[in-house]
Amino acid sequence: MFKKLIAESMGKSPWLFHINAGSCNGCDIELVSVLTPRYDAERLGFKLAGSPRHADIVVVTGPVTTQSLPRVLRAISQVPEPRCIVTMGSCPQSGNVFKGSYSVAGPLSKYVHVDVDVAGCAPKPQAVIDGLALATKILKEKREAK
């Protein structure tokens, strides 16, 4: 029963850690707007965490520049299990318009397993909510599989 309680709760209180891997700030602003009164993701239990140790979901924005790559990977590795990685916007998925630049090391999926991609440039807040909800579901499944 306790296990079930934990698994249930896992689906109801996802905390986000946001990493900007060279983003143009478009996605960052959209992510923050998810927490504004209009979209109010806290309704669903979402909260921005200050440290990766507290987070369940890592949201990566930006094309993963060569400078940011080791930092991104380190921060992701510091998130305790079970965790979910969400790429937000086109950049971390493919590099988008920065593709092929000497300073872009992406896409992120080359280095870690990405659970959810949210496409858009930048995605609408609704799409972000959808993506995070999907990530939460995956999180819960990961917990149940444990």
Partner: protein, 640 residues
């Protein structure tokens, strides 16, 4: 006169220490013999005093001992006398305990030093001097003992004379300490000129009826003299230097024993010799100096960046508590003051020993250079935390028990006397306590927690002998905190009783009826000292509850796989790095001098002023002493 064997114990407990000192001079080159003699001497001294607990503390006897059986004749006490009442024994026990633990600690602490034989000689001289001071029954012997202990302490301060600042500290101590000793000598002479006796009991019977300008000046001189021994403000900068430079085992004695001898002197002086403590003006000066010491030194400590200097300032801050409580002239005040004095010896000793352990293993006590030592020295850390919690007044350790009584007594005094000034003293005391906590949080973060610097990767735990010494203090800290009723019933209350029954003291020395015959109606009536504690605090029950609660939490936690933690397998795994905003975690220690900038920023005017004031020049400090002497003399002349 009944002469039981135990009547001789006081002189034994002094003489074994001196005898040990001389024997070590003779046989000090042989290492095991040296340690054996020193240990034997301090153990014997402690043993003799413990044997006296039953007759003196429980039965309320006062041992009057005349050296060479030269009992007073013709109303004049000529012989050298020892007089042990509960107050003397209380301080004697404190001193013997501190000396014993310090000696145990020294064996391994001093093992890398040269001339350890001389160290032990001076150590035992110091111990004997303080012991003689508190057990002595006449004023001149007290002065002699003050001289012995001052010079031994000065020499020991400079013992590690290769260390930076050791000689300077010793010199400062010598200058101001000698000024103090001179004050005591001058005061003694002036009293002798007036009363033609040096015996305490006789002086106590004589002076209250014959107060004149000369005795008042003598009082001021003696008061300042003993104040320098207690290092209360304005004599505090010496203590900081002396503690910083002296070996830790000596710092224990300077802070735990020398300051106590000063407090003892002040109590003897103001409660016994002059019996002026029932005057509001006299209470004012003690409480005032106490509160100022309390607050000034705790803020000075917050600004320190050296472990031992910080402890030194705290030492004076705690002495401020003692002086304030003693100055209240209420039964609970004196009792709580003595209780705090005892606790101060225990926890400050523990803290100094921990600082010594850190110094020995790392070679520095600079808060800015240390960090993370709990990884390498878990025992020292645990013991240090006991000391730190005790001094900061965290329940259920002993510091809380005594501070709690001090607050009560001050506040109760305020209500009793209707004087709102005491309310502010209460507030200062409470705020000082939290500032003490702050500075010990600073020490724990800067020395024991936080990050371990690269150069201390190979630091190891201190040897068992030093840990044993620290553990002794720690156990005493916990026990005296858990059973405050036992301590007050068997130790501090008898001592407080002695303080308020001067007539007994006089009569025990000079035969019953002497006090009444000399002092007439002014003779203080024997009073039974009782008091009711206002507050409620049952540490044992609280601890039991906490243990049960903690057990419950732990069981639930373990059942919930709380302990299934993941730890670093490979050292390079970035998962176990500290979070550094994503950067590779490099050495970064937050700590040292300026940890509480949020506090210091608001008080920057005060701190800058203090910084300028403490110039470190011995001339300035000597000047402060003279000014303090002048002001106190003036005050007393106006008052009396």
């Amino acid at each position: 006169m009944m002469t039981s064997l135990y009547q001789h114990f006081p002189i034994f407990s002094i003489m074994v220490l001196f005898l040990g000192a001389f024997l070590i001079v003779l046989f000090g080159n042989v290492k095991p013999l040296r340690h054996a003699i020193a240990l034997l001497a301090v153990t014997a001294s402690l043993g003799f005093l413990i044997a006296l607990v039953k007759p003196v503390m429980l039965n309320g006897e006062i041992i009057a001992y005349w050296m060479g059986a030269r009992a007073p004749a013709g109303g004049y006490a000529i012989g050298i006398a020892l007089e042990v009442d509960a107050l003397s024994l209380f301080f004697g026990l404190l001193i013997a305990t501190a000396v014993f633990v310090s000696c145990v600690y020294s064996i391994q602490y001093m093992r890398f030093d040269d001339n350890v034989g001389q160290y032990y000689t001076l150590f035992l001289m110091l111990a004997g001097g303080v012991m003689g001071l508190v057990l002595s029954g006449d004023l001149f012997n007290m002065f002699i003992m003050v001289e012995i202990l001052t010079f031994a302490a000065v020499a020991l301060t400079a013992f590690r004379n290769t260390a930076k600042g050791a000689l300077e500290a010793a010199f400062k101590y010598l200058v101001v300490g000698c000024m103090g000793s001179t004050c005591i000598l001058t005061g003694t002479i002036m009293l002798y000129a007036q009363a033609h006796t040096l015996n305490f009991a006789q002086l106590s019977a004589f002076i209250p009826g014959h107060m004149n300008t000369a005795t008042v000046v003598a009082f001021a001189l003696l008061y300042i003299g003993f104040s320098t021994k207690a290092f209360i403000v304005p004599f505090h900068p010496l203590a900081a230097d002396a503690h910083g430079a002296a070996p830790a085992s000596i710092s224990v004695l300077i802070s735990g024993v020398l300051t106590k001898s000063g407090i003892y002197g002040i109590i003897r002086l103001s409660y016994f010799l002059f019996q002026t403590m029932n005057l509001g003006t006299m209470q004012f000066i003690l409480v005032f100096m106490g509160s100022v010491s309390m607050f000034v030194c705790v803020t000075m400590a917050l600004a320190q960046h050296d472990f031992k200097r910080l402890l030194a300032f705290h030492s004076i801050s705690q002495i401020g508590y003692v002086l304030t409580a003693v100055g209240l002239c209420t039964a609970m005040g004196v009792s709580s003051g003595l209780y705090h004095a005892m606790n101060h010896t225990l926890f400050k000793g523990l803290l100094f020993l921990a600082a010594g352990a850190v110094l020995q293993q790392t070679g520095t006590t600079d808060l800015g250079k240390l960090g993370g030592l709990s990884k390498k020295m878990p025992w020292t850390t645990a013991l240090f935390l006991v000391g730190a919690f005790s001094i900061s007044g965290i329940p259920p350790f002993n510091g809380f028990a005594s501070k709690w009584m001090v607050y009560q007594s001050i506040y109760y005094k305020a209500v009793e006397s209707g004087n709102i000034g005491f309310v502010f003293v209460t507030i200062i005391a409470l705020v000082t306590s939290v500032l003490t906590l702050a500075s010990f949080v600073k020490v724990s973060q800067s020395v024991f927690f936080g990050r371990l610097p690269k150069e201390y990767e190979n630091v190891t735990e201190v040897p068992w002998g030093m840990r044993l010494a620290m553990s002794l203090f720690a156990i005493l800290c916990v026990l005296t905190g858990l059973f405050p009723n036992v301590v007050t019933t068997y130790l501090t209350q008898p001592a407080a009783n002695a303080v308020f029954n001067v007539a007994n003291y006089i009569n025990a020395m000079l035969g019953s009826g002497y006090a009444e015959s000399v002092m007439g109606a002014a003779a203080p009536a024997a009073q039974a000292v009782t008091y009711v504690e206002v507050g409620l605090w049952q540490p044992v029950s609280w601890l039991l509850l906490l243990i049960i609660a903690l057990l419950a939490v732990t069981i639930v936690a373990i059942a919930g796989k709380y302990d299934s933690v993941s730890e670093s397998a490979a050292p390079a795994d970035s998962k176990y790095d500290l979070f550094f905003g994503g950067e590779e975690s490099v050495y970064s220690q937050v700590g040292g001098e300026d940890l509480f900038w949020g506090f210091k920023h608001n008080w920057r005017g005060y701190f800058n002023f203090m910084h300028e004031l403490h110039s470190g020049i011995v001339n300035d400090y000597a000047l402060w002493a003279v000014v303090a002497l002048a002001l106190v003399t003036l005050y007393m002349l106006i008052v009396f």
